[in-house]
């Protein structure tokens, strides 16, 4: 589904990603772990198309298309969804307005008919139960006055409505209490299918108790230094990152 080859990216002239290679196929869940400042969030943002980052080398293919040539909005239309680590508040734009515009923009891009008000409402109501959000949220402004947990649940709710091919969850677990974590993780698990894929970016192993990854990658100083299956996440939980860092240093 997505092939990342030798990806290098800078911000303000500083190199953050230093040659990432990663392939994710449909039906798979990949976890990207790593200590703070290793470039995890940068990778998520670069894939989503944030313009503050400059890609200096490498390529990213998404279902065969050169993703780096597309602006963020068209990447989303192609089927990429970023669940933000810090979702912004947008006073004056309701959740309904956001979702309706987003959904119809994506449908238009794909040459599909736009949904009418009734069809849209039916879809939205169905998806709301998934993350246990109440109806009044729809009329409220995007994330305005939401608690940390509500913001993250709202991200997953949007994901449920937009049905992306590739979802990237950027530290979705940070700041969540155990109940909110369970709700968010259940939502993500229910949305999983053999046709879509998920990249979970996280600092902690605990989210992976709920969203079980097929592959785990350790990102350190802008490179993936180790990949493995879900047992790697458990090892990290036990022993921290130092042993891998040392192991890698010995190899170099």
């Amino acid at each position: 589904m997505i092939e990342i080859k030798n990806l290098h990216a800078n911000i303000d002239g500083r190199e953050i990603l230093k040659g990432i290679n990663l392939t994710v196929n449909k039906g798979e869940v990949h976890a990207i772990m790593g200590p703070n400042g290793s470039g995890k969030s940068t990778l998520a943002q670069v894939i989503a198309g944030r313009e503050d980052y400059e890609v200096t080398q490498g390529e990213v293919l998404f279902n065969g298309k050169n993703l780096l040539e597309l602006p963020a909005e068209n990447r989303a239309c192609e089927g990429i969804f970023l669940a933000f680590q810090y979702p912004v508040e947008i006073p004056g734009v309701s959740n309904t307005t956001l979702l309706k515009n987003a959904l119809n923009s994506i449908r238009k891009y794909r040459g599909e008919e736009e949904l009418d008000a009734m069809e849209f409402l039916t879809l939205v109501k169905k998806k709301m139960s998934l993350v246990e959000l109440s109806d009044d949220l729809l009329r409220r402004s995007v994330n305005e006055g939401f608690s940390g947990g509500e913001k993250k649940r709202n991200e997953i709710f949007q994901m449920a409505v937009l049905q992306p091919k590739l979802a990237i969850l950027d530290e979705t677990d940070s700041g969540l209490d155990i109940d909110a974590l369970r709700i968010v993780a259940n939502g993500v698990t229910k949305l999983k299918s053999s046709e879509n894929a998920t990249i979970v970016v996280t600092h902690y192993q605990r989210l992976l108790n709920y969203i079980v990854p097929d592959f785990v990658h350790v990102l350190y100083k802008g490179k993936i230094i180790k990949s493995g299956d879900k047992s790697l996440a458990l090892d990290l939980e036990d022993k921290g990152y130092d042993w891998i860092i040392e192991e890698t240093a010995e190899l170099v």
Binding site: R50, P71, F84, I90, L98
Partner: protein
């Protein structure tokens, strides 16, 4: 090239011919007021950028034109009127075309009891004392040349008198539609709202065809004890036109006044909004919006005079400027020495969409009392990049994402309008301007 001087002479000459048309009125007290006004007008000079109050507002483009009073009603396609009028079943409707009252398009039949609604010229004939008690009392002390000019020519406009304890259910809409090059219109309104009365008034200023005309308008508002007023002013004049307005509001004890001053049109626009508290426990909300593009210039000067204690004022003006548009916001709040327990809040927020757009903003608080709560502030910025990225990352195209954010920014000003039709109309106008 024209100048301030020749412009003045033109108006004075035109007043002389206007006078001859006022047959039989030379004995009326209004005639004296007019004569007095034209004398004051002659004694004043048009302001230049050397005047503090006009520092950023160069009126030369106006002075370089020449204007005549309109002398006939042009043909108007009802569809043009329809664009601006609300449902006649739910509103009391007055339409003026080129300054003249249009019976055809107005609907002032079966007025509710306790409401006097007349054109200002009819009101002077039918209720001279009532009108003259208030007319020209609050708007000027012979210092504002445009106000004097309006008073001299004031022939067309609306008189509203709401009797004590009367609540007018239907909002009153007054549409001033202008079409023709080089004419000037001087609409003059007097709204007197008695004790415990309530009313909602919408004034719409619009034009059609690419015409360059000059609207010079004055509205006087007297809001008596415990009266409640909602006033919406929609200025959507032609892009070649000139618009100068003066709104003077006097607020008696425990009265409540909400103003919405919405500006989309005009090449050179100057609005003065002056409110004064004459009694305690009154409330005043001034909301404003200006959306300008091309080389439009829109200037809002507001003033709130807390002359009495225990009053509340809350002011929010917002602007969106594109291309080389230029806006001015000057908001004065005076809190007089004995105006203790005053609450006064003022904000001006602007979004600039191009590098050449410009806003001069000057929120001013002058506080002479010591037990008050006051705040003021101004912001000038671009669209929030984080918000824009968030919307784009959801698949919304850049143009639509920007429009959504601008719309959210601006619609905030009209949210609290109680009349759903008016709010919908403004939101549609706004969407038309932004999208």
């Amino acid at each position: 090239m024209n100048s301030s001087h020749t412009m003045k002479e033109q108006f004075i000459r035109q007043f002389q011919s206007f006078e001859t048309l006022l047959t039989g009125e030379d004995v009326s007290p209004l005639y004296k007021i007019r004569k007095d006004a034209i004398d004051k007008f002659s004694a004043l000079n048009f302001p230049t950028v050397k005047d503090e109050e006009w520092k950023y507002t160069n009126i030369n483009p106006l002075l370089n034109k020449s204007f005549k009073p309109a002398n006939a009603i042009p043909e108007v396609d009802p569809a043009i009127i329809g664009k601006y009028l609300f449902n006649k079943n739910e509103f009391i409707t007055l339409v003026f075309i080129n300054g003249y009252f249009s019976k055809e398009f107005s609907d002032v039949e079966s007025l509710p009891e306790g409401l006097i609604l007349e054109t200002i010229s009819d009101a002077i004939k039918k209720h001279p004392q009532l009108v003259l008690d208030y007319f020209s009392k609050s708007s000027s002390g012979g210092k504002n040349i445009f106000t004097e000019l309006n008073t001299a020519f004031a022939d067309h406009g609306t008189f509203v008198f709401v009797e004590e304890r009367v609540v007018i259910q239907k909002p009153i809409q007054i549409l001033y539609l202008t079409h023709a090059d080089e004419i000037f219109v001087s609409p003059r309104n007097l709204f007197v709202i008695s004790k415990n009365a309530q009313v909602k008034i919408i004034e719409t200023f619009a034009g059609f065809g690419a015409s360059s005309y000059f609207t010079n308008q004055v509205t006087e508002f007297l809001v008596n004890e415990n009266a409640v007023v909602e006033h919406v002013r929609i200025q959507d004049e032609q892009l070649q036109s000139f618009h100068i307005s003066h709104l003077a509001v006097e607020l008696e004890r425990s009265s409540n006044f909400s103003s919405y001053n919405i500006n989309f049109g005009g090449s050179l626009v100057r609005n003065n909004v002056n409110t004064k508290f004459l009694g305690e426990f009154a409330e005043c909300r001034l909301n404003g919006l200006y959306v300008a593009e091309g080389s439009q210039f829109i200037d809002n000067h507001t003033s709130i005079d807390h002359a009495k204690p225990n009053c509340l004022s809350n002011e929010l003006y917002k602007g969106i400027l594109n291309d080389t548009a230029h806006a001015v916001f000057n908001g004065k709040v005076f809190v007089r020495q004995d105006a203790q327990k005053t609450n006064a809040y003022q904000q001006n927020k602007n979004i600039l969409l191009s590098n050449e757009a410009l806003v001069n903003t000057k929120p001013q608080l002058e506080i002479f009392a010591d037990d008050v709560k006051c705040s003021h502030g101004a912001t000038v910025g671009q669209l929030d990049k984080e918000q824009l990225f968030y919307l784009k990352a959801r698949g919304i195209q850049e143009k639509e994402a920007k429009a959504l954010l601008l719309y959210a920014f601006a619609s905030d000003v009209v949210h609290s309008i109680s009349m759903l039709q008016v709010r919908d109309h403004l939101e549609a106008l706004l969407a038309e301007k932004i999208l």
